[in-house]
Amino acid sequence: MQLHISTGDGLPIYLQIANQVKYLVASGRLAPGDELSPIRVLAHQLLVNPNTVARAYLELERDGVVQKRHGSGTYVSDSGSPLARKERVKILSERVDALLAEARHLEVEPQELLRLIKERSQSIQPKE
C-alpha cells in the first residue's frame, strides 16, 4: 500500500490518507478483503503521527470503505463496490469541474468541450 503525503498541502494529513485509500479501492489496487497496513506500520512508513493514521482509518470505517475485525486488523469491505462506483464518479467529477472552469476561462462552450472529449476519446481508442 503506497501512499504519499504532502505537507505543503492545506488538506489535513488524515484526509490525504483516507482519500488515497478510497482511490486505491476505487481503482481496484486494493480489493475487498485486502488488509490495510497496521496503524503503527503505516505511521512509521509515512513518518506521520499514529493518531493521524488512526483517525483516517476511523473515517474510512465510518464511510464503509473498510471494516475492523476484532483483534486482527483493518480490511477493505466486501461491500466496497457500490461505494467504489460512487468514489470513481466523485473523483472524475472533480476533474470535470476543473476542466469546465478552464474551458470557461478560455471561452469554450460546454457543447464544444463535449465534442472535443468525444474526438479525443476516439483518437486514443486502442486499435484492434
Binding site: I5, T7, G8, D9, G10, L11, P12, I13, Y14, I39, R40, A43, H44, L47, V48, N49, P50, N51, T52, R55
Partner: protein
C-alpha cells in the same frame, strides 16, 4: 499511593515573565493532553524556550501557574524531572565523556533506565561506544542527547528545537523517535520547532506563539480546516492591498490578491465583494501560509 492521574500532562495558566523590560511571556495558557504530540510553533524569540524552562522548573513563574503531571516544577523538581526526557536546543552533554560512559552516567540518575533499549538506540543511531562526545558531529551529538532523553522511557518527551541545524537523515531519526514514543508507549511529546513541515507531520495539537503570546492553539486538523485561502480578482489593478475585514492577511498585486481567513470566511467574501473583488478560487492554506498570515496579523 493512589493519586488520580491529572487530566493534562502540562497545564500552564496565565503565565507571564519579564526579562528586564521585555515581556518574554505574556499571559500564556495552554494544555497538553496525555498521549498526544504537541507542537509549539513560533519564530526565534517568540518565547518558546522561556516557556519550556518554566516546565522544567528552571524559571519560577512571575505570575500565573505551571503544572506538569499535576506537579509544580519549582516546588517538586524530582517528581517533574523524573517524568520528563528533555533534549535542549544546545545539547549540553559533557564533552570529555565517551558515549558508553555517558550512558552509564545518565543511567545512575534514573531507576527506570532501560539499558537494553539504550543499547538498541545506540546501534540504531550508529553511535560508537568508545567515541568521545567532543569528537561527535552535530548530528551524532543530537542523537546522543535524544538517546539519553528516551532510554528511561519518560512519561513525556520534551524537545526544544530538536531539528535545528541538522541534516534530513538525523531529522528523520528524531521524527521517528517522536512517532515511536507515542505509538508504542502512549506517552506524551511536547516539541518546539520552527520547521512547520515537521509539525504538520507529527503534531496532534499545536500552539502558535508570537512575541510571548499564544495567538492560536488547538488540534492541528481543526486549525487547518478553520483557515481558508481565497483568491480574489478585481476588475482593475489595485494600487495597494485591498482592505478586507475578516482576513488575516492579503498579499498579491494588480488584479489578483490572496486572502487568508480564519473562521470569518463569509465576512471576508462579503467585504471583498463590497471592495469590487470576486472570489475566483478557494482552498485550504498550508500550515506555512497560516503561520505567515498570523505573523503579519499580530503586528496590526
Amino acid at each position: 499511593m493512589n493519586t488520580p492521574a491529572p487530566a493534562n500532562a502540562v497545564e500552564v495558566t496565565g503565565l507571564s515573565r519579564k526579562f528586564s523590560s521585555k515581556l518574554a511571556l505574556n499571559q500564556v495558557s495552554l494544555k497538553v493532553k496525555p498521549g498526544r504530540v504537541f507542537g509549539l510553533v513560533g519564530a526565534n524569540g517568540a518565547g518558546k524556550t522561556t516557556l519550556i524552562k518554566h516546565l522544567l522548573g528552571r524559571l519560577k513563574p512571575e505570575s500565573g501557574s505551571v503544572r506538569v503531571f499535576g506537579f509544580d516544577p519549582v516546588n517538586d523538581p524530582v517528581a517533574v524531572l523524573g517524568r520528563i526526557g528533555y533534549l535542549s536546543e544546545n545539547r549540553d552533554l559533557p564533552a570529555w565523556m565517551r558515549v558508553d560512559e555517558l550512558l552509564r552516567y545518565t543511567a545512575a540518575f534514573y531507576p527506570q533506565w532501560d539499558m537494553a533499549y539504550a543499547e538498541e538506540l545506540r546501534r540504531q543511531f550508529g553511535l560508537e561506544p568508545r567515541a568521545k562526545i567532543k569528537t561527535l558531529s552535530r548530528g551524532e551529538n543530537a542523537k546522543a542527547g535524544l538517546l539519553i532523553a528516551l532510554a528511561y522511557r519518560p512519561e513525556m518527551l520534551l524537545l526544544d528545537e530538536p531539528s535545528s541545524g541538522l541534516d534530513p537523515v538525523v531529522r528523520r531519526d528524531i521524527l521517528e523517535a517522536i512517532i515511536r514514543t507515542v505509538a508504542d508507549e502512549g506517552r506524551t511529546v511536547l516539541f518546539s520547532s520552527h520547521l512547520l513541515e515537521e509539525v504538520d507531520r507529527v503534531a496532534d495539537d499545536l500552539a502558535m506563539m508570537f512575541d510571548g503570546r499564544v495567538v492560536l492553539a488547538g488540534a492541528l486538523d481543526d486549525v487547518k480546516e478553520s483557515h481558508r485561502r481565497l483568491v480574489l480578482r478585481f476588475d482593475s489593478p489595485q494600487p495597494s492591498a485591498p482592505k478586507v475585514a475578516g482576513a488575516l492577511s492579503i498579499t498579491g498585486s494588480g488584479k489578483e490578491w490572496t486572502a487568508i481567513c480564519n473562521g470569518k470566511r463569509d465576512e471576508a467574501v462579503a467585504e471583498a465583494l463590497r471592495a469590487g473583488g470576486k472570489v475566483v478560487a478557494e482552498d485550504s492554506p498550508s500550515l506555512d501560509e497560516i503561520f505567515v498570515a498570523w505573523a503579519g496579523a499580530k503586528s496590526t
